[in-house]
């Protein structure tokens, strides 16, 4: 296996994912297979090839930094799990 349990746990932490006890072994096995599979890219000769980030190699269009949206906070917050007085609530972060 190209990845071990500790590596997978580290990746999960970086990705902010909590893996349940039963999920871990399967994840190690399947992620290893995926990594082995994509490893074949190393055979390709890519010296001096410009990496492609956009299908037309285009740059991002810019616009003037102006307010274009109206305030729709209450509507948006209807989907929030916990709000109070227009604020999003999270567990305590500062002691």
């Amino acid at each position: 296996m190209s990845l071990d349990k500790n590596q997978v746990q580290h990746i999960a932490t970086l990705a902010r994912l909590r893996l349940a006890e039963g999920e871990s072994a399967e994840t190690v096995e399947k992620l290893s297979r995926i990594v082995d599979f994509v490893d074949q890219l190393s055979q390709a000769a890519t010296d001096d090839v410009v990496p492609m980030a956009h299908p037309f190699n285009e740059t991002q269009r810019l616009r003037a930094d102006e307010v274009t949206e109206t305030d729709d906070r209450d509507h948006f917050q209807e989907n929030a799990p916990a709000v109070s007085d227009g604020l999003y609530l999270v567990p305590k972060v500062i002691e």
């Binding site: 399967e26 994840t27 074949q40 299908p55 989907n79």
Partner: protein, 488 residues
């Protein structure tokens, strides 16, 4: 008359609406009845918007009576549940968004609604469009109407199954690696993925932003052309939207294929392709030749690396896009988190399914310190090589043709144990996404009672050529009319 409304294409329904043979309410009622009777067996819908559909149909009929009919006035549409629909549940087939009611409409949804289309509901799909069989949906798999033990393909499997089962003449889909074309092939429908940037991605829940493109699944190329005309065009709200005029795609469908240069990729007919699918596709190519097309072999030397390239680029972009699901502003939130870090990890761990988590982790890995150059940068370079192969090929040909999928529909559960086997379902379609090219799948035969799709890929913004070629082929066959048993 009303009994066979479900068998009519959008184009036929538009004629009937125009001359007053039936109303939009008639169509809507007939299709809602069909959905009611068949969705239990197919699981093609996550949400059916019956009440809203009937109200919209009444409004469309009134608009027509007062002379204000838009180009899609009163015509039914189903939206893949990846498109945000204002005040309607938008789940992306994930537990993460199980209760998400979108506060706004995707541009595709808005443009269709403004043209007068009537939304019947939201279709089932692979979770966050990550899958090729519709089995990763939190709401359960979709069954293929051609054989209920088989997958309809994915990720737009609900859209494809609904169109194939005559529950709607048309549905939207999205295609990141083949998610419109592969399910279209596996269900005997037409699936169009336009050029990257042709259709706005605004309000389409992002999976891999440099690959995602919205399109349609229909029963005829003419219908796909009609819908593309409404969906396509520049959108200020999508930073990668391309500002190019939108031609009249339907008007461009009557050209002869005489002299059309059709490229054939030799590697696409090797051992990976099911023998019977190969026979059906070769017959289709012979028919194109008989219609005047010139078949030539083209070489895409780096294409064999397209699947591994995709499975670095797409997960990398997915890991970034899906970081927005944090359990704070919207989406699933875990109970009893100890602190903010624990809240993130638990909410995401509970809210995402196994395949989505694997892709996020693959993406996190290939972008992480020490691995970025070896995987992500390398994949972007190979992507450039693949795109170059296509650029060179399109100097000599107008379209590239082959099989959409390596096999007909496979049994549910057949590929769920090994992610790589599933990933290879998209081996013929992924190249077009990496290069940003338009592609279409049209029905070209049946193998053991299951449909096969002919895949055509065009040059950038070559939709007119692509649609015309598909349409001319369609005119010479009757595969589009093949209907799964029990859904006539």
């Amino acid at each position: 008359m009303s009994q066979d409304l479900h068998l009519q294409t959008l184009t036929q329904l538009a004629v009937g609406l125009g001359n007053g043979t039936f109303s939009s309410v008639d169509i809507t009622e007939a299709l809602l009845d069909r959905i009611e009777s068949h969705n239990g067996a197919l699981n093609a819908f996550i949400t059916v918007t019956a009440e809203q559909a009937l109200a919209d149909a009444q409004r469309a009929d009134a608009a027509r009576a007062s002379g204000n009919a838009g180009p899609l006035n009163g015509l039914p549409i189903v939206h893949k549940d990846i498109f945000c629909t204002r005040d309607v549940l938008t789940t992306c087939a994930s537990r993460m968004l199980e209760n998400f009611v979108s506060p706004y409409d995707a541009t595709v949804v808005r443009r269709m609604a403004e043209a007068g289309a009537v939304m019947l509901g939201k279709s089932n799909m692979d979770e966050f469009a990550m899958g090729s069989s519709n089995e990763t949906s939190y709401f359960g798999p979709v069954m293929n109407p051609w054989n209920l033990e088989c997958s309809p393909g994915g990720s737009s499997g609900g859209s494809a199954a609904a169109v194939a089962a005559r529950l709607t003449p048309a549905a939207t889909g999205t295609d990141t690696g083949g998610s419109i074309r592969q399910p279209a092939a596996l269900t005997g429908t037409v699936g169009l993925k336009p050029t990257y940037g042709r259709v706005s991605r605004y309000g389409m829940i992002a999976f891999a932003s440099s690959l995602d493109q919205a399109g349609v699944i229909t029963r005829s190329t003419t219908d796909a052309a009609m819908l593309l005309g409404v969906m396509a065009g520049f959108d200020e709200r999508d930073s990668t939207s391309i500002n190019q005029p939108v031609p009249d795609y339907v008007a461009g469908l009557d050209k002869s294929l005489k002299g059309l240069r059709v490229g054939i990729v030799r590697q696409h007919f090797d051992a990976g392709l099911d023998e019977n699918c190969g026979v059906a596709v070769k017959e289709a190519l012979a028919l194109l030749e008989a219609q005047g097309a010139i078949l030539t072999e083209v070489d895409l030397p780096n294409l064999e690396l397209s699947v591994p390239t995709y499975y670095v680029v797409a997960p990398a972009e997915c890991s970034s896009n899906l970081s927005r699901f944090d359990g704070v502003r919207f989406g699933h939130r875990a109970k009893d988190a100890e602190d903010l870090f624990d809240l993130y990890c638990r909410s995401r761990g509970e809210g995402f399914g196994a395949e989505v988590k694997r892709r996020i982790m693959t993406g996190t890995y290939v972008l992480s310190a020490g691995y970025y150059d070896a995987y992500y940068l390398k994949a972007q370079q190979v992507r450039q090589l693949i795109a170059d192969d296509f650029r060179k090929a399109f100097a000599d040909v107008d379209v590239i043709a082959g099989s959409t999928a390596p096999t007909p529909a496979f049994k549910l559960g057949a590929k769920t144990d090994d992610p790589i086997t599933m990933y290879l379902s998209d081996i013929y379609t992924i190249g077009a996404n990496l290069a940003g090219l338009p592609g279409i799948s049209v029905p070209c035969g049946l193998v053991d009672g299951l449909p096969v799709g002919l895949h055509l890929v065009g040059a950038h913004f070559g939709e007119e050529t692509l649609l015309n070629c598909a349409h001319q082929y369609e005119q010479a066959t009757d595969w589009n009319d093949a209907c799964p048993e029990g859904y006539q």
